[in-house]
Symmetry: C2
Subunit: 367 residues, 2 copies
Amino acid sequence: MRIDRTALADLARGAAFLGSGGGGDPYYSLLLGEAELARGETFELVTLDSLADDALVVPCGWIGAPTVSVEKLPSGREALAGLRRLEKELGRKIDAVLPIEIGGGNGLAPLMSAARLGVPVVDADGMGRAFPESQMAIFNIHGLSACPSVLTAACGSLNVIETDDNLVHERVARALSVALGGIAHMVEYPLTGAQAKAHAIGGSVSAAIAAGAAIREAREKGEDPFEALYAALAASGLYPFAGGLFDGKIVDLERETRGGFSVGRVAIEGFAGAGRMELEFQNENLIARRDGAVVALVPDLITVMDLETADSITTERLKYGQRVKVVGAAAPAMLREARALTFVGPAAFGFGEAYRPIETLNGWDKG
Amino acid sequence: MRIDRTALADLARGAAFLGSGGGGDPYYSLLLGEAELARGETFELVTLDSLADDALVVPCGWIGAPTVSVEKLPSGREALAGLRRLEKELGRKIDAVLPIEIGGGNGLAPLMSAARLGVPVVDADGMGRAFPESQMAIFNIHGLSACPSVLTAACGSLNVIETDDNLVHERVARALSVALGGIAHMVEYPLTGAQAKAHAIGGSVSAAIAAGAAIREAREKGEDPFEALYAALAASGLYPFAGGLFDGKIVDLERETRGGFSVGRVAIEGFAGAGRMELEFQNENLIARRDGAVVALVPDLITVMDLETADSITTERLKYGQRVKVVGAAAPAMLREARALTFVGPAAFGFGEAYRPIETLNGWDKG
């Protein structure tokens, strides 16, 4: 499938939602992608099934604090330099690229990287959303190695990382991203085609496109974009439940860039005194409490959206006074398995609350 | 020249002095070296002149806070893994190794690394003493690139760094050393034989051995080890002036590990009310003030020595109550050139004082 200008914008819109507040602002990636299309570049999306078992399939994306990504421009050479270097490391050509995370700008960026390299993008990703740390990828959860990985920065610095400990890999990559200006491109978890088929979260790129298209089409028809989004997510099969968690106005916001992350919390007051919602985030929104009661927990998705336009608002774009709807969605099933929850469940982020599915917490599974 | 057990201990003693308080405690390297000799290993020292112009000559050593180096043991595989990886990067065998800095443990460690690789150590180094940062090497001062460099850590993590900016290289390497536990091995500034001859500080390994031997022999003969040290340093041609700056007892000490460095200051009170000396250090001692007046400035050497034994005391071994002699020595001429002072002079460490030679400040040049 060719991704055209409309699909690219839909992907940006859908990836912004799936970012759960993180993954980097997709707006910049969208502009870059549109410029590439205008120059005659093509973005080719292929299914996991189409990959040869011995293909070399490479997840990639940007690492760093989203607050930096909206202020510091890339050089444009990072991704290709990293991919070429990985080819040199492994002594063979890369056959396809996939997003390490479908959420936010990282859902789009690999399109440009793949086009530069002349290979397709796989309709799959490594997180089914966005997460702040590298070891939260499903490939680590399933025991695959992140290395060799290649981290490249706008200044031209290139770093090859080799370690058999994916937590050390994350620590090293994070330290590098901070040392190199807060944001860097990473090529990691090189996979065989067979590994990609067994472990990647398949269909997430097309799910993001469908989610974005649903919002666009509802707007065009004057229908409710939120209801259209929920239906599209459920229809994708990846995100079986979705719904609104809270409507209100942002009345309090704490946010700082710490250790390479955007960390903070936001409070939203309901209209006409209808309660209060509080979210905590580390790049991504991690927990939602309504009047003190937990209504959504990582790895389920929590995205703050503009109440009028249904545009997703990343954590670095949150502002006092915004009128918003907080939307939640069930995470892909792979992220809810017991082993996955040790890496991406509430405890992995320091929360004491045990994971409970968003559909249970909100009664969405009772019809 | 073969370095035997006596020469190895002399090198440790001399390198400790040339470390100017830093470079890592040589004691651990000495124990390792003695164990290698006992196993039948040989340490071969060759002159710069003996190198072929197209030889591949590789400086190496440890990076990190000395306070960590005395607490965290290496795995023993770091150096060889890094050297082998550099060979892979450059597609050729390494012909010889040299210490990136002659000061402290880093003056000895390359002997073991070279022996593992089966190549000799060159009688030369990249700093003529020890400095806390990678870009303070004479190779950077003379415009050579630090990259490709390879950083390896005890956990098995290996990182190849490529950047054409040696300051970025230092920042990246420092961040990696912190992320990997505070200490790591680095192979950097790969040189041709011709470059080594043109830029390395030649004769510094044998100067360190001679300095250590002078102290040992004076002790054996019941002579003044300090006078013997000053004479040996002057005789080496590299350190033309040396002498005592102050005798006293340590009465105050501030030291913390910050940003990957040991940073602090020490105050020494003269005996019988004979004034006060204060030193400031960042891994290495950088400035000495006697009763408020500057008497020695980086890049000249400032080493705190035990008043009775003439053992050098690294900054991480300083303790309240130690009875010490502060000894200074003129830095090698290459470090005093105008371009060098921009990298290793007082201003490079944030001091407002302009550099003045230690022999001028203390009247040693007036005979």
